[in-house]
């Protein structure tokens, strides 16, 4: 997809990558590892408006169900239909083939509410301690 160092992260372990003017969204390694084998992904509707940090998708694993929150506000442009039949793509490739949705962001200033890869790494270290 892109350079992972340019990804931005939420405290709920979603990532977003700004590919030109489109925001590609997925869940981070920490989340996929905690969930275990993903068995179902509830994708948002194309054209739906989502709000930053509001639930817009859900992931189920053999262990638990977990809500996914939008890292940015905007309109859903595309969803990863491959996840319907192959939800395990989230386990195998959470930063690339396991992307969940593409969003047309409505307010780029919202980037300021997200963590850089470096900040997120420190955040994870804080969780472990």
């Amino acid at each position: 997809m892109g350079n992972e160092e340019e990804y931005l992260f939420t405290k709920e372990h979603e990532w977003v990558y700004f590919d030109d003017t489109v925001a590609v969204v997925g869940i981070a390694e920490y989340a996929q590892s905690a969930l275990g084998d993903v068995t179902y992904v509830e994708l948002p509707e194309i054209g739906e408006d989502v709000e930053q940090f509001e639930q817009f998708a859900a992931v189920e694993s053999v262990k638990a169900a977990s809500d996914i929150f939008a890292p940015v506000s905007g309109k859903i442009l595309e969803v990863n239909k491959k996840l319907d039949a192959n939800p395990e793509l989230i386990n195998k490739s959470c930063y690339d083939k396991g992307w969940i949705a593409k969003i047309q962001p409505s307010d780029l200033a919202e980037k300021g509410n997200l963590m850089s890869a470096e900040e997120y790494q420190k955040f994870l270290e804080g969780l472990e301690n």
Partner: protein, 366 residues
């Protein structure tokens, strides 16, 4: 939940940590829920052989001249016609007909029985049995010195025969004492997975050696409680605390087959009344329309959105590639009910009612 520092540890605790298992609290014990991937470990059991650490479960010996008649009183299945070296699944009930525990009773000798009970129920089961069987029958709790490994899967016989050729003679629900790595132990052809398999009752302090020896065979991999739960739900086997508890009767739990009314047992009169007047609740089994999984505690609704009960167990079924669920509904729910919604009243999905089990290709009787 029990705090982590007081959780009990099986003799394989260090082995689980070195295998990088994720540990969880289960029935007061720290147990491995998965080593690598729950779905991979599930597949290992359905296609090859998986090894489970089941040392947490409880074992009792009941022995004496009146052992048979005493156990008959506290067990719903009939033991009268149980031959030595055979075992039987059944329930122990309270006076209200509720399930104290489900267990397997093995007949070791004419008046000597071996009972296998759930980990979380060991103390209360032991108290109940002691109170009910009378002073002349000896009941001993040997859980602390009895380890238990379950070797399950279509290749289990070949794997175990390499260490103990005698086990090939065992038929389903048959057991005997064998010498395995120089230790005398009870091996039973039973399990909780729907596959051909064995439960090995081994000296606690030596179980680590047996575990490591079995895992040297490259056809075997360790599997955790996560895989075990999927395997048992696909077979629609009950789990204490889910399908059964002290307020649920075996009839309500769909376990009629394990209740014998031809003999007397504690709770029998209540069950007879339920048979006559009708019980309060009944079980349903359903398959999700898609990959979405029901979860324990989800509500169940009829298609006209009436709340009819709850999900007692649910999971994703790798065999069906769909969510599957077991639920308890009010007994007056339409007998022709053929579909349900599961979830909450805000967020729900649909499922098709089916017969149990969900999985029909198991090798348990092969």
């Amino acid at each position: 939940m029990t705090p982590a520092d007081v959780l009990r540890k099986t003799p394989l605790y260090e082995d689980h940590l070195s295998l990088k298992a994720k540990m969880v609290s289960f029935g007061g014990w720290s147990m491995p829920v998965q080593y690598t991937s729950i779905l991979d470990e599930y597949g290992q059991c359905r296609k090859a052989t998986a090894l489970f650490d089941i040392c947490h479960m409880g074992e009792f010996i009941v022995e004496g001249d009146l052992a048979l008649s005493s156990l008959q009183k506290i067990f719903t299945a009939n033991l009268d016609n149980l031959a030595v070296h055979r075992s039987r699944y059944g329930l122990m009930l309270n006076s209200k007909g509720g399930v104290i525990d489900d267990l397997i009773i093995f007949r070791l000798a004419e008046q000597k029985y071996f009972l296998v009970v759930n980990a979380a129920n060991i103390e209360k089961d032991f108290l109940h049995i002691q109170q009910m069987i009378g002073a002349k029958v000896r009941c001993e709790n040997i859980s602390d010195r009895t380890g238990k490994l379950d070797l399950q899967g279509p290749l289990a016989r070949d794997v175990l025969a390499k260490l103990c050729p005698g086990i090939v003679k065992l038929k389903y629900f048959q057991s005997d004492t064998f010498s395995l790595l120089g230790e005398s132990c009870l091996v039973s052809r039973t399990g909780y997975t729907g596959e051909l398999g064995y439960e090995i009752f081994y000296p606690w302090s030596k179980t680590k050696i047996l575990w490591q020896k079995i895992l040297e065979n490259d056809k075997v991999k360790p599997a955790g409680l996560g895989a075990r739960d999927i395997l048992r739900i696909e077979m629609a086997y009950s789990l204490y605390g889910h399908e059964i508890n002290e307020d649920i009767s075996p009839l309500e739990a769909g376990l009629d087959a394990f209740v014998n009314f031809e003999k007397d047992f504690i709770g029998r009169d209540v069950l007879l009344k339920q048979k006559e007047k009708g019980q309060m609740r009944r079980m349903v089994y359903f398959i999700s329309a898609d990959r979405r999984s029901p979860r324990q505690g989800n509500r169940l609704f009829s298609l006209d959105k009436k709340d009819i009960g709850e999900v007692t167990s649910g999971t994703f079924s790798p065999a069906l590639q769909k969510g599957i669920g077991i639920g308890r509904v009010l007994a007056d729910t339409d007998a022709a009910l053929d579909a349900v919604f599961f979830g909450s009243d805000q967020n729900f999905a649909s499922g098709q009612i089916c017969q149990k089990p969900f999985y029909h290709h198991g090798t348990l009787k092969k």
